[in-house]
Assembly symmetry: C2
Homo-oligomer: 305 residues x 2
């Protein structure tokens, strides 16, 4: 059997069987120290042509995005990013200026780079490992959601996917959406604080619909999302109008947003409103989108429109 017959998630599942189960399923691995300090570890690998296209992506922004996706994993655990290890493979005919700009973008996020490797390759590969820290009070996983929790998201969604559609079609304008695709940033400004009040949290790297399913599955609960409450980025609305696409669908499916999706109990709701918008509720079972008073099952895959 070839890798392509399994798909990327299938392969990850196969390999995950060989890893300690206690480390799987969250944005970062949790390692508890003897002194009560908790260390968080995560790695991402980005490959040219699969995860980014150099002709679209200026190297400085690519570097920032690569690091942000890692910093976001730490923020989503209620942690603070402390250090990073950065390894890159680059073809020999790459311009030195391109590599230096990539590296400047990686360093621009302010996380100290304490090591890594630089090697020759046929295509650009960026592999970042991030080390973060937190404590029991702030540590938040995907698996802590409780029935009755409110579901919040830290910002408007859809711009990253909208920007990708603009780039794919070579459309003029829509600079804001394109910018959000190329340099989305992440919510390291609030992740640690949210960790103190949230029962569960995840970052939106694969899309809201997918992330709420992860929380529900890992927590053994269900969820309802209120279609009317999901904040859609204005640039995503503009692009969806131009393309005749459904803006809500873009917001539900848009990956690489790096906003935080989290759930809080009733008594922490007022505090939580500082960090996001209420878009749903944790329920007994099933994952649903509630629109025009009707429940649509989004528990099995992409939303049906």
């Amino acid at each position: 059997m070839k890798v392509k017959d399994l798909g990327e998630f299938g392969l990850i599942e196969e390999l995950a069987k060989m890893i300690g189960k206690e480390y799987i399923g969250d944005d970062a691995a949790v390692v508890r120290g003897k002194d009560g300090r908790i260390l968080l570890y995560s790695s991402d690998m980005l490959v040219e042509g699969v995860h980014f296209l150099p002709e679209w992506h200026p190297p400085f922004k690519l570097g920032r995005k690569a690091m942000c996706s890692n910093v976001s994993d730490i923020a989503a655990m209620g942690g603070v990013a402390e250090y990073a290890l950065v390894s890159i493979a680059v073809p020999e005919n790459t311009e030195l200026g391109w590599v230096k700009d990539l590296y400047r973008g990686i360093a621009d996020t302010g996380v100290p780079i304490i090591g890594g490797d630089t090697v020759r390759g046929k295509e650009v590969v960026i592999s970042i490992s991030i080390i973060g820290s937190t404590d029991e009070e702030h540590l938040t996983t995907r698996s802590g959601a409780k029935v009755g929790d409110h579901v919040l998201v830290s910002g408007p969604l859809g711009a990253s996917r909208a920007g990708l559609e603009v780039l794919k079609r070579g459309m003029e304008g829509y600079a804001e959406a394109v910018e959000k695709h190329l340099d989305p940033g992440c919510r390291s400004d609030i992740g640690h604080e949210v960790g103190a009040i949230a029962n569960s949290m995840i970052d939106i790297s694969d899309g809201l619909a997918s992330e709420i399913r992860h929380i529900a599955e890992m927590s053994g609960v269900g969820a309802e999302l209120y279609a009317e409450e999901i904040p859609i980025h204005p640039s995503a609305v503009k692009v969806s109008e131009a393309l005749g696409m459904d803006a809500l669908r873009i917001a539900l499916e848009s990956g690489e947003e790096y906003e935080l999706l989290f759930t809080v109990p009733e008594e922490r709701l007022e505090e939580a409103r500082k960090y996001g918008t209420v878009i749903g509720r944790i329920v007994d079972g099933g994952v649903y989108l509630v629109r025009d008073g009707k429940r649509e099952d989004i528990g099995k895959g992409w939303v049906q429109f």
Copy 2:
């Protein structure tokens, strides 16, 4: 300017300017915790066609070697490897069995894999980050060698390079040398203990001649290596005889050996002999090979024969 005009070390030097200087120059980055515990971090990236050839390298052994090169970096700091993050890129038409065997080899070293990433790529890329720990007593860097220290190496050298020459030429036999090239192992069995008695230490990943220069340069001292004392692996002697090559040169230049090179003060010499063979002495300045009573300068580059 293109990356190829700089070379790999040149590029690393350029990028290192953008990294915190305190983290550069050792096998692993050192992070001191508030509780006196020291964490060690290192990353290696291996690219198909640059660092290994799948047609020579069975995946299980490749996985072991990839992990060993990281575990060796921790051992060379007097540390103990604790966790690893493993990211791999694989082409879609790769056999699942090949990827699983690679992963089994990575896991076989016994270091728990706590995370990583699995992605699609045009060529196989293996990126491992390793987390180790030690304490002030055992921590050993490249920069602690003192004039008068004895220089020791933990095992016989040359087999890895000899095995590579055998593979390159498609020669029959010489299985022991080939095996050492494909699956060299590393000295995690002694690294932590040696850390308690050594003033300086490094692992032999680029070759003995190169590593002794690193120690001398980082410590601000010189070194003499005694040609007659350098232990040469029997399989390297056999291969060098067959090829009409100088066995000592192979031992001096052979990389990916993952033996430990360390220096100890006079008063720790007897203990140190448990862990290796004395091959030289730290001196005031210059890096020399002493052969037949004559000093040859090996401070500037490869040994002249």
